[in-house]
């Protein structure tokens, strides 16, 4: 949960200070964009897949109550147990209780945004349960007590020198330089954790209502290990993750990997249906599925912003976003960043504390164009902005007052040709002190609000109206 107001401007200013970070961001976003583009160009029916995925998601969210009940029934039928959690605390205590009841000492986790969202690690660790993130990026982030930087690649803000030093400090190994060597060390360290774990925790990419199957998509194999080796598997899913039919998975799996990393398929996709059955030598003996609401059912109620729940967490909108590319993941102040963060964070948290986020977008719409479920970001962002403004209505707000005044003056001047002309001429004189080449800089208050962040084009000595007249009359004479 967010306790302090997210100050997007301050956070971004902080991020912009680091040239190292900037380089990593540009490098990363460029690469992701290009590989996505290439991957989708190979699929001739890409647009049809997107439309169909959106249609299915629409159907799921509009009928979420009955699909959740169907899923619960299916999971129970195959021997699993479903738990309903209306908020973060409840979800965490459900997991802690399962651990306690089974005397669990060691937990291995695979990457999951839902567990980040509810800060599950903190709860488990404070209950005396050893909890290890096993996705390499998440593991690195956990070792340095940091937060993930991106939903797909959490540690892109760490250089290999950082990691090399970190591993050497923590494990007493030499400072290896090669990424492959570092990876090998992590494999060794984490393999021991897997083999001594009594509970594995995972997220869910898709949950099939008719069969009770959960789908987990990954590249490393840590999710496979976490959901196969330990005796207990607990999966946590946001309630929006449902797909009605088993065969519909093919549509979402086609979209997800290509959108996320530009792979044709992720290395591993696991379709898990219930706990191990008689005769099987591996797989968990207990399977628990936690339904996490945490504000989602409220989103579903709003017709305007409901589509925020269609998201399949591919990260494509983040990689394409010109704002994210500059300011990075931490500026968004919570677990979800980029356009999807700007949309989902304010809806899952206190709107007043997150009021900056719907404005952290230029509404260029690039996110909408890449989104595999076609979320109409500009529309959703605008209606969230409206909500923010309505929420602050009635309270004296100097910025709003200034804005109102400015628009009054503007409409007065612009609707009377005489004043319009006069104002134009006056500007040419007044701008003298602030003009640098063709731009105005460092204007006095309240215009400084503009010029602090961007330059204003200077007023031309010869206004367009005059130039037009001259051109027009010259032409007339010619004829």
């Amino acid at each position: 949960m967010i306790t302090e107001r997210i100050d997007f401007k301050k956070n971004s200013a902080e991020a912009l200070k680091s040239p190292k970070l900037k380089k990593a961001l540009v490098n990363f976003t460029d690469r992701s964009r290009n590989s996505r583009k290439k991957a989708i160009s190979e699929v001739s029916e890409w647009e049809e897949l997107r439309s169909e995925a959106r249609r299915i998601k629409e159907q799921v969210i509009n009928n979420l109550d009955s699909y959740l009940l169907e899923l619960e029934e299916s999971v129970t039928r195959v021997g699993g147990k479903v738990h309903w959690a209306k908020n973060a605390e409840e979800a965490s205590s459900i997991v802690v209780n399962i651990a306690r009841e089974n005397n669990v000492r060691n937990v291995v986790k695979s990457k999951s945004m839902a567990t980040e969202e509810i800060e599950l690690n903190r709860h488990l660790i404070s209950s005396g349960i050893n909890t290890v993130e096993t996705d390499l990026g998440e593991y690195i982030v956990q070792l340095c007590n940091d937060h993930p930087f991106h939903i797909i690649t959490p540690a892109i803000h760490k250089t290999k020198e950082d990691i090399s030093k970190l591993f050497s400090e923590k494990f007493g190994v030499p400072e290896y330089e090669e990424p492959q060597e570092l990876t090998n060390i992590a494999r060794k360290e984490l393999r021991e954790k897997f083999l001594s774990a009594d509970m594995g925790i995972s997220g869910v990419n898709f949950a099939v209502a008719e069969t009770g199957t959960i789908t987990i998509v990954e590249n490393e194999g840590n999710a496979r290990l976490a959901t196969t080796y330990p005796d207990i598997h607990v999966a946590i899913m946001g309630i929006e993750k449902i797909v009605p039919k088993f065969e519909q998975l093919s549509i979402f799996l086609s979209l997800l990997a290509r959108s996320a990393t530009g792979q044709k398929s992720s290395t591993y996709v696991s379709l898990i249906t219930g706990p191990r059955r008689e005769g099987e030598s591996d797989g968990p003996r207990q399977f628990h599925l936690v339904f996490l609401d945490n504000g989602r059912s409220d989103i579903a109620k709003s017709k305007e912003t409901r589509e925020s729940l269609y998201c399949i967490r591919c990260g494509a909108c983040i990689n394409i976003c010109p704002v994210y590319r500059q300011v990075g993941g931490h500026s968004y102040g919570w677990v979800y960043s980029g356009p999807i963060g700007a949309v989902i964070t304010p809806q899952l948290n206190d709107l007043q504390k997150t009021a900056d986020l719907p404005f952290a977008s230029s509404l260029c719409g690039a996110c909408r164009d890449v989104c595999p479920v076609k979320i109409d970001f500009p529309h959703v962002l605008l209606s969230l902005r409206q909500r923010v403004v309505e929420k602050t209505k009635g309270k004296p707000n100097p910025a709003q007052f200034m804005e109102k005044m400015a628009f009054r003056i503007w409409s007065f001047v612009f609707s009377k040709p005489f004043y319009y002309n006069l104002a134009g001429r006056m500007m040419v004189f007044l701008q003298y002190f602030y003009q640098k080449e063709n731009e105005l800089q460092g204007l006095p208050y309240p215009f400084s609000k503009w010029t602090k962040e961007k330059n204003f084009p200077a007023f031309s000595k010869k206004p367009f109206r005059r130039r037009w007249k001259e051109k027009y009359s010259a032409k007339m004479e010619h004829q």
Partner: protein
Amino acid sequence: MILKESKEVILQNLSSIATEEKGISKSTEKTFLNPQLSIDQSKLQNDFIANFKMVSGEVHLLEEKGRLIDKINELIREFDAQSVSFWNTEPLKSLELTHETDLASADIGITGADFAIADTGTLVLLSGPEQPRLTSLLPPVHIAILKKETIVSNIHALFAKLGKSYKKNYDELCTCISFITGPSRTADIELNLTLGVHGPGRAIVIIV
């Protein structure tokens, strides 16, 4: 008691969605199965090989008269493997291999593959009493024996095939279906591709 209450709260919240928006949407379901798609098995095989190699997988084609056991022994020698774990299914069952029961210390895991997908280079393994999941996961090397006639064109065809083999009755769905597309990989360190971070660093297919 908390839990029951939460279920009610969530369902009640969701039931307030206007009823006219509920119900199954009118637009018809689209299927992405193209029946016209030529099912030229040798093309499927070539596509599978190309795509599996593209993700750092390795492929061996068994010659007409070649013996599977020879190929496997050749690989075991190549990796200097002391212990091998394998699925207790045909054709592996009838080969003279010594089995390592402690999977965690096996050098090579050998499995079959129930299906493969040509256009993504993906192996599909179903779990079962004789087909443990960990054989393809714990050892540093995974070898899969793939029958060429089980290769399908794309993921939509795969799901259609699964649907058919379960006769749309998924009560018998196996506990775990694993899609494997190449060796375990990560790009978490400065976007450098590294292999074998958790699963096998070598993924080898023998096509028979």
